[in-house]
Amino acid sequence: MTNNQFMFLLFSVVIVVFSLLTVTSRRILRAATFLLFVLVSTSGLYFLLGFNFLAAIQLTLYAGGIVVLIIFSVLLTSHISEKLAIPPVTKRIYAAVAAVAGAILCILTILQTQFIQKNFDPARTNIRTIGEGMLSTGKYGYALPFEVISVLLLAAMIGSIILAKKRKD
């Protein structure tokens, strides 16, 4: 077993175990913490694949921003010691059957597919290539989605301020 395989298996075990704990934990703050572990080990996978910039974005934006936002809203809307009710058995069985059936179907399809795997090229993901790709308008350039994303972020910011504002009615 090579180093890469070992690190991949370590990260994937952490991801699967803590994802399961996220959806089954009865304390909501612990569920948010387990989600944080899942996101951090996903960023470890990106580091393993060589996408350093993407892994840093994942750490700062997902693990730093979204999880903190979720924890704030947990603290605003429920007590820390409060436990969630256990969902009824039939609901859990139906959901588990749906999820396991879908997972088995997809995994069987994946394992039967032959992919043409190429040798990778380690020097592609430097920050200069990313910046030029973000701002170029030619082929393999992403200027239009970049601008659309900035408008979307502005709209989301204004919308959430207006939604969460206290109304005088």
Binding site: L76, S78, Y94, F115, I116, K118, F120, D121
Partner: protein, 105 residues
């Protein structure tokens, strides 16, 4: 093949994570835990994009840019969702989906 790790491993991992998220979305009743399940689903899709980019199409960075945009959309979605959740909590004093059966206010 990424130095001994075939792409199937990444795909199986992200499928598992995706369906764990689906299970959580179906089972949970609290709005914030449902939002966490959605984050799990989005994250598994990101792993898929990055693995395809690295292993199958290493010449360009398309998967990486898509993942960046997914992360930005997820941040916007989480902020709007949490604003809505706080607004609902202010009106109904809990955030169970089953208690939210009227749209009119």
């Amino acid at each position: 093949m990424f130095e001994g790790v075939p792409i199937h491993w990444f795909l199986v991992l992200s499928t598992t994570m995706f369906f764990i998220g689906i299970y959580g979305f179906l089972v949970r009743k609290n709005l914030i835990t449902m939002l966490m399940s959605i984050e799990l689903i989005l994250n598994s899709v990101c792993i898929n994009f990055v693995a395809f980019n690295k292993i199958l199409f290493p010449g360009h960075l398309e998967g990486m840019f898509f993942t960046l945009f997914i992360i930005a959309v997820a941040a916007a979605e989480a902020s709007v969702a949490i604003a809505i959740i706080i607004n609902i909590y202010r009106r109904l004093v809990n955030i169970d989906v089953e208690k939210m059966n009227e749209m009119k206010y």
